[in-house]
C-alpha cells in the first residue's frame, strides 16, 4: 500500500516529464525529451535523496533510462541503436501524448467526484431475513486448498520489493566508479563501458549527466560523430 499511502503528493514520472516540457513551452517530441532529460535526472536524484518508496524510484529510473537513450542519440548521432530501442523512443513520445490527453479527463473526475455517494441503493434482498442454505460444494478438505492459494497470493504481493531491476545499475556506485577511473588525462568515453552492453552505456551516460550537473567534469565533443572525451575538472582554489 505504501505507494498509495506514503506518497500522495508525489507525481509519477510521466507527470513530471510533462510538467518539464510544458515549462519550456515545447511540443512533445524526441527533441523536447532530450532537452528536459537533465532536469528530469535532477529531479530523480532529489527523489532518491529523500529515501522514497523504491518502487517509485524504479518507475522513474525506467523512464530515465529511455530518456538517456534519447539524449545519447542527440549527443552522439553515430550511436547505433536497435529496433527495440528505436521503438522505445517512439513509444515514450506516444505514451506521453496519451498521458497528456488524460489530464483533462482527470480534472473532470476530480471535480465531479463526491466523497459521499450521490446515489443510494438497497442491500441484497433487503426484505428477507436470514435462513440456512448450506453450500454443497464445500468439503472440509477444501478449506486448506483455499487457504494455501490465499497465502501464496499474499506472499507474492507483499514480498520485499526488489529495489531496482538488474538492468538498472546502482547509479551512485557508478558515479563513484567513474570518478575513480577519471584521471587528469583524457579518457575515451567508450572505455568506461567495461562490458560494453547498451544498458551499461546508458547508465554511464546517466551518471555523466549527473556529474555535469555537479560540475565535476567537462564533456567535450570535438565534432559530431566524434568520440566524447572526459576530463576531470581541476579543483579551483
Amino acid at each position: 500500500m505504501s505507494y498509495e499511502l506514503t506518497l500522495p503528493h508525489y507525481a509519477g514520472p510521466l507527470d513530471k516529464l510533462l510538467e518539464l516540457i510544458e515549462e519550456k513551452k515545447m511540443e512533445i517530441t524526441e527533441i523536447s525529451l532530450a532537452v528536459v532529460t537533465a532536469d528530469f535526472l535532477d529531479y530523480l536524484r532529489k527523489l532518491e535523496g529523500e529515501h522514497l518508496d523504491p518502487i517509485l524510484v524504479t518507475d522513474f529510473l525506467v523512464i530515465a533510462s529511455k530518456l538517456v537513450l534519447i539524449k545519447s542519440r542527440a549527443l552522439l548521432p553515430s550511436l547505433e541503436i536497435s529496433e527495440d530501442e528505436e521503438l522505445d523512443i517512439k513509444n515514450l513520445e506516444a505514451r506521453l501524448k496519451i498521458y497528456a490527453e488524460f489530464k483533462l479527463a482527470k480534472d473532470y473526475l476530480r471535480k465531479n467526484w463526491s466523497d459521499m455517494p450521490k446515489m443510494s441503493s438497497r442491500v441484497l434482498f433487503m426484505s428477507l431475513g436470514p435462513s440456512f442454505y448450506p453450500p454443497s460444494n464445500l468439503k472440509k478438505d477444501d478449506f486448506v486448498n483455499i487457504l494455501a492459494t490465499i497465502t501464496n497470493e499474499l506472499q507474492r504481493i507483499f514480498k520485499p520489493v526488489e529495489i531496482v531491476k538488474t538492468e538498472i545499475i546502482n547509479l551512485k556506485k557508478k558515479i563513484e566508479e567513474i570518478i575513480q577511473k577519471l584521471t587528469s588525462k583524457p579518457t575515451i568515453f567508450k572505455d568506461l563501458a567495461e562490458k560494453g552492453s547498451r544498458n551499461e552505456l546508458v547508465v554511464i551516460f546517466l551518471a555523466i549527466l549527473h556529474l555535469i550537473k555537479d560540475q565535476l567534469i567537462n564533456v567535450e565533443q570535438a565534432k559530431n560523430f566524434h568520440e566524447i572525451t572526459i576530463v576531470k575538472k581541476e579543483k579551483v582554489g
Binding site: S131, F132, P134, K140, F143
Partner: protein
C-alpha cells in the same frame, strides 16, 4: 399550489432506502414538511405509482406507517429469483470469504478486504442471508461489525468447534500476520 414533485421524489427515496414501514412522523421530519402535508404527498405518490403501468411498486399504508412494496401480481418473479439465488452453489468469492472468516473470525470487514484484496460487502451480505456467518458489534470498537461462522455452518461441516478445522492453528497464525496495518 407549489411544485411538490421534489418532495414526492424524496419521499420515494426514503421509502426505498428503509424498506420497512415508516411512521408518518419520521417521514415528515426527514423531508421537512408538516404531517398533514406529508399525508398529501403520500397520496400523490401512491396514485402516481398505481397509475403507472411501467411501475412494479406500490404504497402500502398500515395505520400511521407507510411502506414501498412490490405490486401484488408481481411477487412470483421475486420468489423465483430468491429460490434461484439460494439454490446456487457458493461462488469462489463466497467460499474464500467463508474460509477466512472460519479461521480468523471474529474479524471486521476491513481485515477480510485486506486479505482478499477486494471489497467484500456484497459477499458478506450473501453469506449472512444464507445463514453461514453471523455478525455482531465489536467489543473493542464501536460501530464496527465483526463476522464469524455460524453454529449451523459448523454443524453442517461436521465440526464440533472452530478448533477442529483442518490445520487451524497453522493458518490462523499465517493469516494473522497479514492484518491491516494501523494507518490513519
Amino acid at each position: 399550489m407549489e411544485n411538490n414533485s421534489p418532495k414526492i421524489a424524496e419521499l420515494e427515496v426514503l421509502l426505498f432506502h428503509y424498506g420497512e414501514p415508516l411512521p408518518m412522523k419520521k417521514i415528515s421530519r426527514l423531508i421537512g414538511v408538516k404531517e398533514s402535508e406529508c399525508k398529501e404527498l403520500v397520496g400523490v405518490l401512491a396514485s402516481s405509482l398505481q397509475n403507472n403501468e411501467y411501475s412494479g411498486l406500490m404504497i402500502l399504508e398500515d395505520g400511521d406507517a407507510v411502506q414501498l412494496v412490490s405490486k401484488p401480481g408481481l411477487a412470483s418473479v421475486n420468489e423465483k429469483l430468491t429460490k434461484e439465488e439460494f439454490r446456487e452453489e457458493l461462488t469462489p468469492a463466497g467460499l474464500e470469504a467463508l474460509t477466512i472468516i472460519a479461521y480468523l473470525g471474529p474479524i471486521p470487514r476491513m481485515t477480510l478486504d485486506y486479505i482478499r484484496g477486494v471489497n467484500s460487502s456484497f459477499t458478506l451480505r450473501a453469506l449472512l442471508m444464507r445463514g453461514l456467518i453471523e455478525r455482531s458489534e465489536s467489543a473493542k470498537r464501536k460501530n464496527i461489525y465483526e463476522y464469524k461462522v455460524s453454529f449451523d455452518f459448523l454443524k453442517h461441516m461436521g465440526l464440533g468447534s472452530i478448533q477442529e478445522l483442518p490445520e487451524y492453528e497453522k493458518y490462523k497464525d499465517i493469516l494473522s500476520k497479514f492484518d491491516v496495518p494501523q494507518i490513519a
